[in-house]
């Protein structure tokens, strides 16, 4: 029982840290391009968030295996190249699979899937897992939680950004300028979670 309880606490901490404290977007600055790019509307933000959660968890699983092969064969130095190829083909594969198997989900995620290849949150989170020497389960939990953190920040941001259309913003700050400052303020508000653990 005790082992189970401490296990639970371990995963709980992992998730809280990844979602709120070391948020992949607002604290580690990974995936800021899609953050700026697809946050203009709520629907697209939710679609992107779901696609990232799905792909990132899968990618963490597969890159973990790839890493083992690279270590076995002593070619760790091509890790970057191997990972990006794996992620690119994974995204392609997921796209084809969803198109055949779950057309409804494919329709809602469709256009966001190819964009994920160049989302540095995916590659970044996978490399981070390797650098931190996490085991497979931890790595997958971590990846899932990071992706949820990404989605949370993205959806929050999209909600605020929809209000920009009616707000009076000085001309030079319109568009990306004010968006970046707003992101800074959201990041600041996430600092409040620092006391949690």
């Amino acid at each position: 029982m005790e082992a189970e309880a401490s296990n639970f606490q371990h995963f709980f901490e992992l998730v809280i840290v990844a979602v709120f404290i070391n948020n992949i977007l607002l604290h580690r600055f990974l995936g800021t391009c899609p953050f700026m790019g697809v946050s203009k509307k709520m629907d697209t933000a939710i679609g992107m968030a779901l696609a990232v959660v799905f792909v990132l968890t899968l990618a963490a699983f597969i890159t973990y295996g790839v890493r083992q092969i690279l270590v076995e064969t002593h070619i760790e130095y091509i890790q970057t190249l191997a990972f990006i190829l794996v992620i690119a083909s994974l995204v392609q594969f997921v796209e084809m699979f969803l198109k055949k198997a779950i057309p409804a989900l494919y329709k809602s995620l469709g256009i966001f899937l190819p964009l994920i290849t160049t989302n540095c949150a995916v590659l970044g989170a996978c490399i981070y897992n390797i650098d931190e020497k996490l085991n497979l389960v931890d790595a997958m939990v971590m990846a899932f939680a990071s992706a949820v953190g990404f989605g949370l920040a993205l959806v929050l941001f999209a909600g605020i950004r929809e209000k920009f259309e009616t707000a009076r913003i000085p001309a030079p700050m319109q568009g990306t300028g004010i968006a970046l400052v707003t992101a800074g303020i959201i990041a600041l508000s996430f600092y409040a979670f620092k006391g949690m653990i």
Binding site: C33, Y77, F83, T117, Y128, T182, G184
Partner: protein, 197 residues
């Protein structure tokens, strides 16, 4: 190919199309490693090397690469050069390598490089592509160095590389994550104010 055409391609990267302000691409390293001027410069220089090499190779191969698999092919070329830069940095600039950390492998997914391949190197000859890469790369380096300098002066209170103190009570805020967003947003606003000359 005239000298005027070469000059035009070079100069556009320095002001009219300067990344990451005119194109909002490659934000992750822009936010992630600009807490000091030196790190910003190092990141810019690494990106510059990869950008010039990748542009050159891709423009040489532009008639060989089939259109359907071009993005995957570009990523392989880019990843190869990133691995090279990573190894060179580890060997000759180890401290910089450590401080940039995860952002070096992430040059692979820097949208500026893939963007230039797609928008320029795909359609133009090797000489013009190198010039374009140089211009854009130097522009990116300048932006990162400037942002790094601003954040270092405001956040630490010292002029970079000297002991001259300009602020008795530095704004710690600018050294941290939210400050990165706000500083970049304000800088973007100032750039817009100055206009596209």
């Amino acid at each position: 190919m005239s000298a005027a055409a070469i000059k035009k391609e070079f100069v556009k990267g320095l002001w009219t199309d300067i990344p990451p302000f005119r194109f909002v691409l490659g934000l992750c390293p822009t936010l992630g490693v600009t807490d000091t001027m030196f790190k910003g410069f190092g990141m810019g220089a690494a990106t510059l090397c990869v950008l010039v090499c990748a542009n050159f190779i891709i423009s040489l191969l532009r008639k060989v690469i089939p259109d359907e698999v071009r993005v995957a092919s570009y990523i392989v070329v880019i990843a190869t050069f990133v691995v090279c830069v990573e190894m060179v940095m580890e060997a000759f600039a180890y401290e910089l390598f450590l401080s940039l950390g995860i952002f070096i492998p992430l040059i692979v997914v820097n949208c500026i490089i893939l963007g230039r391949a797609e928008a320029f190197a795909k359609k133009n000859g090797p000489v013009l592509s190198i010039v374009d890469g140089l211009g854009m790369g130097i522009g990116f380096t300048l932006s990162l160095t400037a942002l790094g300098a601003i954040r270092e002066i405001l956040g630490k209170g010292f002029i970079p590389f000297t002991d001259i103190q300009v602020l008795a009570e530095p704004f710690e805020f600018f050294q941290q994550a939210p400050g990165a967003f706000v500083a970049l947003g304000l800088m973007l606003g100032i750039m817009n104010l100055l206009g596209k000359k």
